[in-house]
């Protein structure tokens, strides 16, 4: 089910909507992402966590390094499969 809204937006935000194909879907996606962010931050705060940007960056580098190695391994497997066939 959907509902119809009439909303007012600042010029810079409205210009963004001019560029997308489906403004309703774009706004719905933005709201869902905002809801997800608010939920996660509240859960972490309620649990007693104070996550720092430095900590996130350090962990992000470790995670990206592993994910990069996984992608490289998959590519290598694909290359070997193509070479064998």
């Amino acid at each position: 089910m959907t509902r119809r809204f009439s909303i007012s937006l600042p010029d810079d935000v409205a210009a963004e909507l001019d560029r997308v194909e489906n403004a309703s879907a774009f706004i719905a996606d933005c709201i869902r992402q905002r809801r997800r962010r608010d939920t996660v931050r509240k859960m972490l705060a309620d649990a007693g966590y104070e996550i720092t940007e430095e900590g996130i960056e350090r962990m992000r580098r470790r995670l990206h390094e592993l994910e990069g190695r996984r992608r490289a391994h998959k590519l290598e497997e694909r290359r070997r499969g193509r070479a064998a066939s």
């Binding site: 939920t39 996660v40 649990a47 996550i51 995670l63 994910e67 190695r69 996984r70």
Partner: protein, 134 residues
């Protein structure tokens, strides 16, 4: 469903007991980086952690696993998958709940976040295991 990370019981315990920031940081990363990826909580790992926790700490675990609109999803253990998971657990005594986490990380091509890296790497490739131990 795109599960990017799987947490085993050791990671769930550390999060619930506030003994490390690592899982909180991973949750922050998944929330920040894209709107669709999820963190998987294998049901057997959840049960193992739940059993080991004090009531106060259990609330954190339950909130993590059940928060709607959040970034986590409980991964069920269905049918004959239980046999494979039980065998994995039997091969890794003292690491209760890791079998289901290894199984799901492998099935979903996700990274397993754990404080039991040595046991996890006996079943998964090095690049599939994020060892949270300091």
């Amino acid at each position: 469903m795109n599960v990017r990370l799987v947490l085993d019981a050791s990671a769930l315990l550390a999060y619930s007991r506030l003994t490390s920031m690592a899982v909180g940081e991973l949750i922050g990363i998944v929330e920040e980086e894209d709107g669709e990826s999820l963190i998987g909580v294998p049901a057997a790992s959840f049960l193992a952690a739940h059993r080991a926790l004090d009531p106060d700490d259990r609330d954190r675990l339950v909130d993590l696993a059940t928060s709607s609109d959040g970034v986590t999803v409980v991964l069920p253990l269905l049918g004959t998958d239980a046999v494979e998971v039980a065998e994995l657990d039997a091969h890794e005594p003292g690491t209760e709940g890791i079998g289901h986490a290894i199984f799901e990380a492998n099935r979903l091509s996700a990274t397993l976040a754990t404080y039991q890296g040595e046991a996890a790497r006996r079943w998964l490739a090095d690049y599939e295991v994020l060892d949270l131990s300091p």
